[in-house]
């Protein structure tokens, strides 16, 4: 879209082409001008000036690409693949994280042995192991589920350990001495006391999971939103790429607001 604009403005501007170098200069100038015009009206993140103007399409082109994109079945297929991947990965991360966090905190000794191991492992970027996930689980959604689950697991497990191990032992002793059953202790003392910390872990885990699934899809995948963004970039279709990016950013912002609303409401109790 943008390319054709430049090519048509170059000959109609009245100059005769005398050679390739002059034409190139002219084109460069035009590209620069259009680039300046569009970057001013575009999102601040692309305004850094470091990104070549050729890759910053005009906003209406992005809008048109978005309209076209939403009407394709490919769009909805990609979105549903990614959403399925994220929800599976998050579900695995939540179940494993809370379960392991709970089991570890059953004994003080285990907490002291394992907590540094888990937090040490979390310091290593799991992205390093991404080629391994591809190797083990293939290039389809399964490797992204595993990758996202591995990334989301650590904050959830660490916060569950921190939350459950941090409960004041006086409360537990009081509950026990007043004859509360072990399930009752968990239901009325342990869980409510640890809940805010676990909730923070769940929130961090969700966004890490979200970002890592998209990242995995961008780096190497055959389907999903991330793959489509990379594909649009590789095919030099900036308008479509920006349309995808806008979709993801909007989703991220909506999810962020939603999650903090849920968190505030749950904390209110």
């Amino acid at each position: 879209m943008y390319n054709t604009d430049v090519v048509t403005t170059a000959p109609t501007s009245g100059k005769v082409w005398t050679g390739n170098d002059i034409r190139d200069k002219k084109m460069d100038k035009d590209i620069l001008k259009v680039g300046q015009y569009t970057t001013v009206s575009f999102e601040p993140k692309t305004c850094t000036g470091a990104i070549a103007p050729l890759f910053v399409p005009p906003m209406d082109a992005v809008w048109r690409a978005f309209i076209v994109l939403v009407q394709t079945t490919q769009f909805w297929a990609a979105v549903s693949t990614t959403l399925m991947t994220i929800s599976q990965a998050y579900l695995i991360a939540v179940v494993l994280g809370i379960l392991i966090g709970f089991l570890v905190t059953r004994s003080n000794f285990l907490v002291q042995v394992l907590e540094p191991v888990v937090s040490g492992l979390f310091a290593i970027p799991i992205t390093l192991f991404f080629p391994l996930f591809i190797l083990l689980f293939g290039i389809g959604p399964a490797s992204k589920v595993a990758y996202g689950a591995a990334y989301g697991f650590f904050p959830i497990a660490l916060n569950t350990i921190a939350g459950l191990a941090g409960v004041n032992s006086h409360y537990l002793n009081a509950a026990r001495s007043m004859g509360l059953s072990s399930f009752g202790t968990f239901r009325h003392v342990l869980f409510p006391a640890a809940f805010p910390v676990i909730l923070t872990g769940l929130r961090i885990g969700f966004f890490i999971c979200f970002a890592s699934v998209l990242g995995g899809e961008t780096i190497s995948s055959v389907s999903g939103v991330g793959r489509n963004i990379a594909l649009a970039a590789e095919l030099m279709e900036p308008a479509r790429m920006y349309a995808w990016i806008v979709v993801v950013i909007a989703t991220a912002l909506v999810l962020n607001t939603l999650v903090s609303m849920i968190e505030n409401r749950m904390r209110g109790h």
Partner: protein, 272 residues
């Protein structure tokens, strides 16, 4: 009578207490070592007996590959140095820009309240979706990796600097100002020492994020660097050097993290 009753257990308990604690912590450390060793041993046995040699390598052959294939290859050594260079450049840029912007945004209530929500919104965006854009803008060379690492690292620094500046006791600021301190004096002697804990949290997070950004960019597209070789080994089903390379990167992550923590300890010593 009652006096001796109280004193006797105390004098007997004092020398015993540290020893018991020492025994306990030694027990914990040894259990942890045993656990790690046990996992490695199980991995070794399982990989030798039942593992698919195209996917999983036993630890012993990983160590062998580390010296025979990875460290002896000049190209891979160059790749490790390149990745280290990219991480250091991106990190230095992220810290400088993050600190400067953070100080500017956090210095007055107006700038903080107007700009900080925008920063937080940008921080919430999964930046990895902009990765193709970075490649388009900066090419497939080290510049794109540095830029992408920077974009990951700058936000934790910025957010933590602003948050740390907010936590400085306003009484101290008022006192410094009423005693005639200039803005630069206040930042140097009041604000900075008090936001140092929050700042270093940001620095540590930024180190992890910068490394993440650089490696993501290298895995996405590259012609050199560690990411290129990890991808190469993974795609040619050669797990032993792959694991060795991952091990080197993990050591690099831990080493860089430790450097930041050492500096942090030096700067927060005044608080103890």
């Amino acid at each position: 009578m009652s006096l001796t009753q109280i004193e006797v257990p105390q004098t007997r308990a004092l020398p015993r207490q540290p020893r018991r604690q020492f025994q306990r912590s030694a027990q914990i450390v040894w259990t942890r070592r045993l656990l790690v060793f046990g996992v490695l041993a199980m991995w070794e046995v399982w990989a030798r007996l039942a593992g698919n040699s195209e996917l999983i390598a036993p630890p012993s052959s990983i160590v062998r590959a580390l010296f025979s294939d990875v460290l002896s290859d000049a190209a891979i050594r160059g790749a490790i140095m390149l990745t280290l260079f990219e991480v250091v450049c991106a990190y230095a840029l992220a810290v400088m820009v993050g600190l400067a912007l953070g100080l500017a945004i956090g210095s007055t209530s107006l700038t903080r309240r107007s700009m900080f929500p925008i920063i937080l919104l940008l921080y919430a965006i999964p930046q990895v979706i902009l990765l193709p854009l970075f490649t388009l803008g900066f090419g497939i060379g080290p510049a794109a990796k540095i830029a992408f690492g920077f974009s990951h690292g700058v936000f934790p620094v910025l957010v933590n600097v602003v948050a740390g500046m907010r936590n400085v006791n306003p009484l101290l600021l008022k006192a410094a100002r009423s005693m005639g301190a200039r803005q630069s004096d206040i930042i140097r002697n009041v604000t900075f020492p008090h936001m140092v804990a929050s700042f270093f949290t940001g620095l540590r997070l930024a180190m992890t994020m910068t490394l993440l950004g650089v490696i993501l960019a290298e895995l996405y597209v590259s012609t050199a660097g560690v990411g290129y070789f990890t991808k190469l080994f993974a795609e040619t089903f050669d797990p032993a050097p792959l694991f060795a390379l991952i091990g080197i990167l993990a050591l690099m992550a831990i080493g860089l993290n430790e450097i930041v923590r050492t500096i942090e300890r030096r700067f927060t010593r005044w608080k103890d």
